[in-house]
């Protein structure tokens, strides 16, 4: 699979195979898009533009819609309907339904058995496949890179470009290999890997780059774990993160609704096996972490790069030589109401949120449920468990996980983005502290004035039981 004898990376292969027109001095490359995912929040203005210009959706058969961001996750009423209390959300969802219907795009509406977070349903339906180009008006589109796809978030103007032309203008990004060698210890998960990576490179460390995650620890992860890692590539500043497809990928895909079957499966498999980076392929940058040195991670500040090992102490602005970074850290600690040198272990919390496109898949819920089994959520804590899709919810219920969560005192909700982005009424109150399995701890992200500690589902579950930030390894050992 070398071109002119030159070894190529996974990214270069996928990029090259989708180039309709090469980049020149005057114009960016024109990339063909295999799959376009749309949702209610970042698409309405793009559909309006199509209407104004009298344009059709070029490939509705390569486009799929789902409702996720502004949908309520409150339990269904007696009629089996999920009520929408917010008039603006209702209008946005109605508009989305009408747009998808008018332009011939298949769409999973609120309450549909296939509805869910856009980055959960793509893989779950077998729509996400190795070697594809996938875009969505959502920065966490990087999630799909776990399959060896080139997947990235785009703005609403670009959503319009893809709807109208199935192509996108892109300048070729640089590449960065992130090697995670060795094996994870007990109680340490994919989420801890990616939080450690972002703490090391910073939230701008990947700007202009595509990551390829490599090494034994990545190969050992389930597809769900790889999705967690790739999901937060954007929190490291990279638009895309990729993992080479392997037998774990193929096993996950086999038999899924939109995955190839029969002779098509064999042909696809041959193609997919040709995708991994060639031996000797070079990257513009390369870093290495040791998985066996990692422990559970947690963030203390107001961006995902402000993270540390869970037994660490909050850093002091006074120790920060860079004046801009010092100001940012000061501002973050003020917002979080934390002191330099303070330990987070034992810090009382109000809410635990398990969910989001980062950590709402069946393996995440199994991990958390196994931990909660026989334990109770502390009286002072509200724990919400929000499955990533209706299919995840049904699977979890067939395994009895919802009973474990409910018996522990947690809320078992309908599928959606929920408190990750807090658009739908699921939100923190001012001043509250949450341990959250989501991806962003920005000021106000989970509700105005709310304070977020990002962590893994295991750490979130342990903290729910303790009523305070807790290291899951301690309780796992008991």
């Amino acid at each position: 699979m070398t071109e002119n004898g030159r070894p190529r990376t996974l990214f270069e292969k996928v990029w090259h195979a989708h180039t309709v027109r090469e980049q020149s001095d005057d114009t960016p490359a024109v990339l063909y898009i295999d799959l376009h995912l749309v949702h209610e929040v970042t698409s309405p203005q793009a559909f309006s533009m199509l209407r104004e210009r009298g344009l059709a959706v070029r490939r509705p058969d390569q486009t799929i819609g789902t409702m996720d961001h502004s949908t309520p996750t409150t339990p269904r009423n007696d009629l089996g309907v999920i009520p929408i209390a917010d008039a603006m959300a209702a209008l946005q969802l109605d508009t989305f339904s009408r747009n998808c219907r008018d332009f011939g795009i298949p769409m999973y509406a609120l309450g549909d058995e296939h509805q869910g977070i856009v980055h959960v349903i793509g893989p779950e339906k077998g729509l996400t496949q190795p070697g594809m180009t996938i875009v969505c008006g959502d920065s966490h589109t990087s999630t799909h890179g776990a399959f060896g796809a080139l997947a990235f978030g785009i703005g609403t103007s670009e959503v319009g470009h893809v709807l109208a032309t199935q192509t996108l203008l892109q300048n070729k990004p640089r590449t960065m290999a992130i090697n995670v060698d060795g094996r994870l210890g007990d109680g340490v998960t994919a989420k801890d890997i990616i939080l450690a990576i972002i703490a090391r490179i910073g939230i701008g460390g990947g700007t202009g780059k595509v990551f390829e995650y490599r090494g034994e620890a990545i190969r050992s992860l389930s597809m769900e774990g790889r999705m967690t890692v790739c999901n937060m590539s954007i929190e490291g500043g990279a638009r895309a993160g990729m993992v080479a497809p392997d037998d774990t990928t193929f096993e996950y895909m086999r038999g899924r609704r939109h995955a190839p079957s029969g002779a098509e499966w064999d042909a696809a498999l041959a193609h997919w096996r040709s995708l991994p980076s060639d031996p000797g392929a070079t990257f513009d940058q390369e870093i290495t972490l040791r998985a066996d040195e990692l422990i559970p991670m947690i963030t203390y500040g107001t961006n995902p790069g402000m993270g540390m090992p869970i037994d660490g102490a909050v850093p002091a602005p006074a120790d920060e030589p860079d004046v801009n970074k010092k100001i940012a850290l000061d501002k973050a600690l003020d917002y979080m109401d934390l002191s330099p040198g303070q330990q987070l272990l034992g810090k009382a919390i109000d809410v635990v949120f398990i969910g989001s496109c980062t950590n709402s898949r069946i393996t995440d819920l199994r991990q958390a449920a196994r931990f909660m089994d026989g334990r109770k959520v502390a009286d002072s804590v509200r724990m919400m468990v929000v499955p990533g899709s209706q299919q995840v919810k049904m699977q979890a219920e067939s395994e009895g996980l919802h009973e474990i969560f409910r018996a522990a005192g947690a809320e078992w909700r309908e599928a959606g983005c929920s408190m990750c982005i807090a658009m739908n009424g699921d939100q923190l109150r001012p001043g509250q502290y949450a341990v959250s399995t989501s991806n962003r701890n920005f000021e106000g992200r989970q509700g105005k004035g709310g304070r977020t500690f990002l962590a893994s589902p295991l750490t979130a579950a342990a903290s729910a039981v303790a009523g305070a930030v807790a290291d899951p390894r301690v309780m796992l050992a008991n």
Binding site: A17, V20, D26, T27, P28, Y32, D34, L35, V41, T42, P44, Q45, S48, P60, D61, Q62, T63, I64, H69, A89, I105, P106, L127, Q129, G131, S139, T141, G153, I154, G155, T156, S157, E158, H161, A164, T165, L169, N171, I203, G204, T207, G208, G237, R239, H258, N303, N324, K325, I327, A328, I421, A422, M423, P430, R440, F442, E443, G444, K448, G449
Partner: protein, 203 residues
């Protein structure tokens, strides 16, 4: 999109690194179906007190000295976070025509350029100089020549900034990029004819 050839306006500084799109416009304002009227939501949680309506007198954009500022000077890595194009829509709605920083998050930069909001990358010294000027001499004006890719400071110093040729062409001529892509329909058809469809969503 309107043509953008020159910008001149007064600067205001937000010397905070990593200003994310949730600060530029909080997610609760994304339940809209058009682009209009988002200016009021720009920096909403910094700009207003807890009631969400009373201007926070400590926030720099609310200070009379900076009323009418149209060039925002920001800390490093401006616009990180989500893909929401509501961020440049809100900044434009709040009267900004350009943002100056040492670097921008990829998606924000793309979104800004498609709406005629100019992201200007400068070196750290220039950024710090602008922060000082904005603080010490409110009302300080800068001018920008898009064609020359040059920012002129009050002392007459010209600082060049990078801008890819295609975006520059689109800004100068007020054209959007979709027209260019639509004209490539023949190339796209040829591509589709020689490559298999990878997935079909309608089955």
């Amino acid at each position: 999109m309107e043509k953008l050839r020159h910008i001149s306006g007064s600067i205001v500084g937000l010397p905070v690194n990593d200003i994310d799109t949730d600060q530029i416009i909080p997610a609760r304002f994304l339940k809209v179906t058009d682009k209009a009227g988002l200016g009021k939501a720009a920096f909403c949680d910094w700009r207003y007190l807890e009631d969400g309506e009373t201007p926070n007198p400590d926030f720099i954009l609310n200070q009379p000295d900076y009323a009418g500022a149209s060039v925002l000077v920001a800390g490093n890595n401006f616009g990180c976070g989500s893909s929401r194009e509501h961020a440049p829509w809100a900044l434009l709605g709040a009267g900004f025509k350009a943002v100056i920083s040492t670097d921008f998050a990829d998606i924000f930069r793309n979104n800004a350029l498609k709406n005629g909001l100019l992201p200007i990358v400068v070196d750290r010294d220039t950024q710090q100089q602008l922060f000082s000027l904005a603080e010490e001499a409110p009302g300080t004006e800068v001018s920008v020549d898009v064609e020359a890719q040059a920012l002129t400071l009050p002392d007459g110093r010209r600082v060049n900034f990078p801008l890819d040729g295609f975006s520059k062409y689109c800004l100068l001529h007020g054209v959007d990029q979709l027209g260019y892509l639509l004209a490539l329909d023949g190339d796209v058809r040829a591509f589709e004819a020689s490559n298999p469809q990878r997935v079909k969503t309608t089955v």
